[in-house]
């Protein structure tokens, strides 16, 4: 296939309701423009695997040249992804893999589990003598939520008995619930906890509101996850202790490049599992964050 050939790629993220994916797709579109001759078609997964399955199937019918998907359900999308590949359409997964389809061209991701480990390590670094911890979890049953919960537990449980989870409640990745659940938890606890870890930035920012409203600002260290613009600013200003950046923009750019290279030139990526190292971003390494330029 020739260098100049027009390429159409379907991009199907989990949902556009999370800024994480909005940013990722923007970066993909930018990358596509830089490469030239690449059209990005966007579908919104709306957090529903049937919706995403139907989007992918429609794209196959439409005859796109390649697919980039961030699967809502790692196993749920497997069958459809396999079907697309059988129809000669290469697929790259981003953010997280699909299960059990080795034919996928590549998975470009930053492992949620290891990102949460980084979050836990940041806690251990800041509180070497142990800490009382509140854990705000994502949507119960959601894979991302599970992985982040497991990763954080792996590190903090291993760090010794001095690290105590005093309360663990889901706040469904929502700022609103992050705020009210934190309020409720703080009331229920006899003693103010030292640390709040949250499975995403929205919940962390909600928790920060609750902490501030309680007049506890500065007394509780709050750890977010995502490296969102709001969270980075909060880290800079001190209301969050850290957030975890898993470089969604870079993931998106790599995914587009990998896919276009393969479609145009038949170049296979060196590895079919391209993992970016998630990094805990604190005030000290704020400049490493991908979206640091956006926080004015």
């Amino acid at each position: 296939q020739s260098e100049q050939e027009e390429v159409t790629i379907l991009v199907s993220p989990l949902t556009f309701a999370f800024p994480h994916f909005v940013f990722m797709v923007e970066q993909m579109q930018d990358e596509a423009e830089q490469i030239g001759g690449v059209e990005i078609v966007v579908a919104d997964g709306q957090l529903s695997s049937p919706k995403q399955v139907s989007d992918l199937e429609a794209a196959v019918v439409q005859g796109v040249d390649g697919i980039i998907v961030a699967p809502v359900d790692a196993s749920g999308l497997a069958e459809t992804v396999r079907m697309a590949i059988q129809n000669g359409i290469p697929v790259v997964t981003v953010d997280r893999p699909v299960n059990g389809v080795p034919e996928v061209l590549a998975n470009v991701a930053a492992d949620n589990y290891s990102g949460a480990e980084a979050q836990g390590e940041a806690v251990v670094a800041a509180f070497p003598d142990g800490a009382t911890i509140v854990n705000l979890q994502g949507i119960p049953g959601d894979k991302t939520a599970n992985d982040r919960n497991d990763g954080a537990h792996a590190v903090l449980d291993a760090a010794g008995d001095s690290y105590q989870f005093v309360s663990e409640q889901p706040a469904n990745f929502s700022r609103d619930e992050g705020l009210s659940v934190t309020e409720n938890i703080l009331t229920g606890l006899e003693e103010t906890p030292q640390v709040i870890i949250a499975a995403n930035d929205d919940m962390a920012l909600g928790a920060a509101q609750a902490v501030e409203a309680r007049g506890l600002a500065g007394e509780i260290a709050i750890y977010g996850y995502d490296g969102s613009v709001g969270a980075l600013r909060a880290v800079r200003d001190g209301s969050l202790a850290a957030t975890v950046d898993q470089f969604p923009g870079e993931q998106g750019r790599i995914a587009v490049r990998t896919l276009v290279d393969y479609i145009r030139n038949g170049i296979e990526p060196e590895s079919d599992n391209i993992l970016l190292d998630p990094v805990a971003i604190t005030q000290d390494n704020l400049d490493q964050a991908e979206r640091v330029g956006l926080i004015d």
């Binding site: 919104d44 709306q46 049937p50 139907s54 989007d55 019918v61 359900d73 299960n99 059990g100 049953g141």
Partner: protein, 337 residues
């Protein structure tokens, strides 16, 4: 009655019949219009592969929509179906795998897939019957009972699967979701069968007729000797059964079951039933409409993606078209009165 009057009457009768038929056909007309528009904008829409795609996608919530038709006909509603799909899917998965291991190894130490199906159907039916009893005996509105069910079953699903997915079933299990009979996907055949049986039950049996009577006027139905509580409980049992079946087929299709499956199904399913012309006030409508409504919903989602409509616009259009479909139905029915 004079001959002239007689002629007038029977002409009028024919006219009334024609109108009534038109009223019944409204959702179908709307569906065809949608198909024509989509096809003219993008001919690939009508490719056989796409048609089977749409039907396969439709089949799972279509199965539930058939059950929902019974419940809505008796003036009920069931908001718990999405959660029940997750719960029953997990039950089937756990039985088939012999545990909650998420491993993708096809050979589980679990039970035969037939036992898994039975588990899903039994749990679904029991859950439905249970909700029906609370509705019938305690007179708690169905909306509330099944809103409770929505939360309860999701909680149970999380507890069973311990939050994670249970994946990787035997090929026989998977066949129910991914197999083909000739060119036709198995779930589509299941959906068609379920719809056919429901159609016969609703139109040809005393039970079906009682469902309409209860929905039309529960007090009058009771006074006429119909066991209103029995009909209510059975209807909820039916939707529970359908949810269990859908939960199993979905797990088979996705080769995985998890607690977050089916989130938000309730509204899609209810929309399909209502678009198909079944009244939320009970007593009118039926399965034929529901099938059309379900296909219409599927066509809508598929078509907008095929047409490459931008995601935000898509949501706005889906909302508008759903309203338009029902408005069209209402308009035609009004004309034919």
């Amino acid at each position: 009655m004079t001959a002239e009057e007689h002629a007038e009457t029977s002409a009028a009768l024919r006219r009334a019949r024609r109108f009534a038929l038109l009223g019944k056909l409204a959702p179908l007309i709307f569906l065809l219009a949608l198909v024509v528009i989509f096809t003219s904008l993008q001919p690939r829409f009508l490719l056989p592969i796409n048609i089977f795609n749409v039907l396969r996608q439709v089949s799972i919530f279509g199965i539930i929509a058939v059950g929902m038709t019974f419940v809505i006909l008796i003036r009920g509603i069931d908001l718990s179906v999405g959660s029940l799909v997750a719960l029953t899917g997990l039950c089937a998965a756990v039985v088939a795998k012999g545990g909650t291991s998420g491993g993708f190894s096809d050979a589980g130490d679990g039970y035969h897939w037939t036992i898994a199906v039975l588990a899903a159907l039994a749990v679904g039916t029991l859950a439905g019957l249970f909700q029906g009893m609370v509705v019938a005996w305690l007179a708690v509105p169905a909306f509330v009972v099944t809103l409770g069910g929505l939360t309860i079953f999701r909680g149970l699903a999380l507890a069973i699967g311990n939050g994670g997915p249970v994946s990787g079933f035997s090929p026989e299990f998977g066949w129910w979701g991914r197999g083909l009979i000739g060119p036709v996907p198995v779930p589509v055949i299941i959906f068609a069968l379920v719809a056919l049986i429901a159609y016969l039950v609703l139109t040809q049996t005393r039970f079906g007729r009682s469902v309409y009577a209860v929905g039309s006027n529960p007090e009058a139905a009771r006074l006429s000797g119909i066991n209103v509580n029995g009909i209510t409980i059975t209807s909820f049992g039916i939707i529970g059964f359908c949810s269990g079946l859908a939960g199993f087929v979905l797990a088979a299709r996705l080769n995985s079951a998890e607690a977050v499956a089916g989130t938000g199904y309730e509204l899609t399913v209810i929309a399909a039933v209502v678009i198909g012309g079944t009244s939320l006030y009970g007593g009118t409508g039926g399965v034929v409409g529901t099938v059309i409504g379900a296909v219409l919903t599927g066509v809508l989602m598929n078509g907008l993606v095929i047409l490459n409509v931008s995601p935000y616009t898509q949501q706005v259009m889906i909302g508008l078209i759903i309203i338009a479909a029902v408005a069209f139905d209402v308009f035609i029915k009004r004309q034919s009165r």
